[in-house]
Symmetry: C2
Amino acid sequence: MVPKIAVQQKGISVADQNATPIRVGLLGAGTVGSQTARLIVEQKDELAARIGRPIELTGVACLDPKETERFPWIDQSIVTTDTMSVATNSDIVIELIGGTTVARKFVLAAIESGASVVTANKALLAKYGPEIYAAAEAKGVDIYFEAAVGGAIPFLRPLRESLVGDKVTSMLGIVNGTTNYILDEMTVKGLQFDDVLKDAQAKGYAEADPTGDIEGYDAANKAAIMATLGFHTSVTIDDVSVEGITNITADDIAAATAEHKVIKLLAVVENGEAGVSARVYPALIDENHPLASVHGSFNAIFVKAEAADDLMFYGRGAGGAPTASAVVGDVVTVARHIAAGCTGPSIPLYKDLKKAPINASKAAFAVRFLIHDKPGVLAAIATEFARNGVSINGVNQDLKPSLKAPGYDGEVQQLRLVTHATDEITLRETVKAVQALDFVTGQPSILRVLD
Amino acid sequence: MVPKIAVQQKGISVADQNATPIRVGLLGAGTVGSQTARLIVEQKDELAARIGRPIELTGVACLDPKETERFPWIDQSIVTTDTMSVATNSDIVIELIGGTTVARKFVLAAIESGASVVTANKALLAKYGPEIYAAAEAKGVDIYFEAAVGGAIPFLRPLRESLVGDKVTSMLGIVNGTTNYILDEMTVKGLQFDDVLKDAQAKGYAEADPTGDIEGYDAANKAAIMATLGFHTSVTIDDVSVEGITNITADDIAAATAEHKVIKLLAVVENGEAGVSARVYPALIDENHPLASVHGSFNAIFVKAEAADDLMFYGRGAGGAPTASAVVGDVVTVARHIAAGCTGPSIPLYKDLKKAPINASKAAFAVRFLIHDKPGVLAAIATEFARNGVSINGVNQDLKPSLKAPGYDGEVQQLRLVTHATDEITLRETVKAVQALDFVTGQPSILRVLD
């Protein structure tokens, strides 16, 4: 017999409702900050029941307090420009300022004051994560940051807490919505990168300065965090090799489409015999691969672990409300710990794993040359590949019979090769050698091919 | 500057290594139990570093101790048939016995003795979950059960801890590998249910007594647990409406394939205005839907939450090592709590939500009748549907021009209708009325169509 009534009477008791609320301070009231405030204020009773003690938004710090007047759920009397005061007078500090300089200062000050910290700041953690994790552990407070990778997707917590009995060997995912949107638009509309980027900026899907997204640094920050948590070792943004999508042309997309593939920007982290690697690069993916159907602002991450085998996590990687869902989930977790008088697990980076050299990992590459076709071209190119020990898996010379190459008067053809698995250094040397042949012109395109 | 050296020296200190190990008792040494023991023993040092204190397998209870001799990593001196002794002399008890009677006894005894419990037992939790959660909370110990739904997939913990700042409105998934395998085989090979089942039993993919899987009860147990955790209310197996796959015929599969659809057994839980519902039923899914490509023992669960929007979790739902990964992840979590001298969040079922009546939710249905064709048949059937207020979205009378119906001498045709959204009770009454018409024969097939 299940004692139904006893169970249903549980939750927050009268005594608990009268307990001193846990003070929550919010640094930054932009898109995510305002939605975070809304969830905390509007769900006050629900959250109190789930925590076992009330929580209260007691401070909101932002550069321009007028901005918060748009949000009716924010009590204007708690809005201030004095960020340090909010950072050091709360039980839980939510850092949504972004950037690495002042954010680091306020996060460390909050920890030093004894507050637990929830942040969505991937750049901060990719650069100073190990320092911040150590500071939180030394002070005995929590640091949670689910929203930093994959937005609303519960991914970092499962990685940190659910897969902790297993050995994670690799992770691979689409973790940047802006580049995913741009590549989608190029694919669907056949447009060039620059045109799609301008349109995305006009629609607010890309920042005025899009460098961090399109050059792959945002994804690289996420890769650093994923590798650090998954492999229990310090991996910072400086350890990540980064290639963005600015060189992807409409011709690349057309060639991919013709071969039933799509181009996606991937973050890939691996823990292999050669060491730990973290990379961001655009890759060709078969149109039937689950990642091929991840569109727009959605993110998806594959995880491979020794015992669990393959796992995938999918959801919205951006947007105010979805990101706020992850932030408030962290706030509730931290608040439960405070109510229970303890902290969650720290992040022990107990392994000093070496970083794998760039040529340790092998992949198939698709290389596209622009050539002035004449007899012997294929033989000459194939000879260069053979000389460098790069084995060719397939050749296609008819993808697009003729097009104009910049700086070249005659008609050119595309010659597209797909290699067997090779390392990137050898591949790039081979491409350089081919590029020196007199019938080759324009810029070659080099893309990894996902297995 | 990141203080790298300080960070890398962390992890388990000499003092911690000499600390009294946390005692782990294992009840049941079958497929999952033996793999769980392997991960705990083989990864001893890794787990100690992640926990901050050593853990040690101090007891293994099983009915036949000889069985454990196959597993070289299990120290035979700790194997016993005295299950109660292991259950009440451990800091963490892992229950992998299965069933609801003795498992409940040992789990409650373990909790009463002050042990935290990790279990993979969905039947136990679907029946006695609220009692067990309350007992654990009252005693101040942990109860974790990630492996009970979705096998290796970190799903219940994210639901319980990451989405706790959001409002989950519905969940829908493939959570039973045996039925998924059978439906896959029927689809690929065009075989009848009984033949595929026999083959699956011969290969060990289905139990000798497959009732729990094929009648949908295993999925129903999981639906009850999902609804309880997601909606913070008590939902037990008795609250779940269950329809298995034993009525699915090769003709159903052929009809689905012809319309570019697949049939999958779904667990669906919803928290709507009419109340909470938990259902298991086979449904027609478009072949492009992400769930259509979930094959064999893989599971996938979609979650819809107010702020997070759509999420999906995917991975291996069964198998010794994958399930053990989830179990050991829970063990490490509980061990971290013990090392820190606290417990994780309890499971407060603070809501007394009413159960939605069966006709509260509407869906499109695909209905297949066997008919003896003659003029006026379609008009007569359409009239019955109209009389019951069920709107028809599409009709197909040519799927399979002729076949033999059991107990009917003449040739029969299939007539297949797809309705607009309607409630199940009205639909079944309509089908019954049509079935009474003299030109209708055999058994009708009724399948929900997923949006």
